[in-house]
Amino acid sequence: MLKLLLAFLTLTLPFLAHSFSPDHPTDRRVLVLLDDLAVKSSHSLFFKTLQSRGFDLDFKLADDPKIGLQRYGQYTYDALILFSPTVDRFGGSIDLAAILDFVDTGHDLIIAADTNASDLIRQISVECGVDFDEDPSAMVIDHTSYAVSDSEGDHTLIASDDFISSDVILGSKKIEASSILDNAPVLFKGIGHTINSENSLVLKVLSASPSAYSANPNSKLSSPPSLTGSSISLVSVVQARNNARVLISGSLSMFSDRFFRSKVQKAGSPDKHEKSANEQFLTELSKWVFHERGHLKAVNVRHHKVGEADEPAIYRINDDVEYSIEIYEWHGKSWEPYVADDVQVQFYMMSPYVLKTLSTDKKGNYFTAFKVPDVYGVFQFKVEYHRLGYTSVALSKQIPVRPFRHNEYERFIPAAYPYYGAAFTMMTGFFVFTVVHLYNK
């Protein structure tokens, strides 16, 4: 019996945890590191939305000495949520390098910082391309687009609705209040950050309004604040080149039940929303971060000559080629056909000789036909598809192209008959001349 169990374990152990991959997109285990176990209940709505989507959450204190991301060289978790803004050192084997390795191997990460965020959390964010305000007691303050509140008068509770315009990141359903049809804002209370403009992998998802600034709300402003205006990002996402996704928020409380359920009225606006957009915003964003949306896979790359089915090892110049590929998007439970009209294929040798937009049958199948250029050499079929919010599709397949063989040229061209005739006339003429010349004497 024990033997059987052991055999079962050794067989299933490699399949217990994976980063997102086309073969193992489901059954994902998430490690949640908390400063205080009270967060588990105060932020329960957010955790429940994850659990209801089939994620297995493992709550641990951040300084628990037994935590670790790996065991025997295998990752035991697929994603990591850091709801521990003040932790200086993680317990167990987790440290900065371990978390970066975790992301480098394609795993996902959610970081929520807050005022007094520790250096460790800041360092992790910097490695992801996000710089939090260096002043530890600074908060984002906005005197024009704050949320009206009875208890708080320092305008640090911000009502922001400056979202990134991307359906794939935020979901196609408009973020709106449950009762009123117009857009409800997202409540935010925490520290702001900036993103490096040269880093194309980081995206501002929720920006502060132009009137926002980052400063300590309890002290008088003696010098101009370092972060101002809409360059302040409240929530950012990163999609690394290995398709690992990272969500970085400057506020832990925006994930809380209180903010999820809070009524909200933006200053200067007569609309009172029954519910903030936090729940929908963060749910949709977590779907994106955990690859339930915007993850593409390209399969069945095929190319062949027109009229043939088999893939040749080499093409000849001027061959007519058909190229087809299937692209699917993960929708949380199944792979659905991806529909777009801007997927292109290149026939590439140092530079694209052919660049064609693929036609699609709306069932995930993309195809086109083109003529191999009149140039021989080693070519590549290349598909480079990079779109905001989608994982990048980069495929290349090498194929040589040869010139005509000696016996493949056209023969007996009608237009050339006069030339053939002339050549043979000259031969006959030579023969006749020889005879005449010899017997003339």
């Binding site: 002339a422 050549a423 000259m426 010899l438």
Partner: protein, 121 residues
């Protein structure tokens, strides 16, 4: 002062005289050389016909065009060479037997037509 009409008539008379003297001089040419001249003329006119044809239809099978024209030109050149060598008046080749010159001519023609057939495509 010379009248224009007499001038033009004297020019045409000069041309006629020149042409007549040329014809009488050429009639003295041996028949063997005349045959060679006929052969050269035939080759050159065939070449010209092909060039005109190419100008009309375009140069698509360019290798065929080249081999067709070059076979005519080559034939004409070789025939002219033969004519130079077998001409009795030409003292430069007086040591060369006309049979030897003809043998060279035949050999060169064979090589020429071999190349032309390869290139005709």
């Amino acid at each position: 002062m010379v009248k224009p009409s007499s001038s033009s008539s004297s020019t045409s008379q000069d041309a006629l005289a020149l042409f007549n003297s040329l014809r009488s001089a050429y009639s003295a040419t041996p028949t063997a050389l005349k045959i060679i001249d006929l052969y050269v003329g035939f080759a050159v006119s065939t070449a010209i016909i092909q060039v005109v044809y190419m100008a009309l239809v375009g140069s698509f099978p360019f290798n065929s065009f080249l081999s067709g024209v070059l076979s005519c030109i080559g034939t004409a050149v070789l025939a002219v060479c033969l004519r130079i060598q077998v001409n009795k008046e030409n003292k430069e080749f007086k040591d060369l037997a006309p049979e030897r010159a003809f043998a060279d001519f035949v050999l060169c023609n064979l090589v020429l037509h071999l190349v032309i057939m390869n290139f005709l495509g």
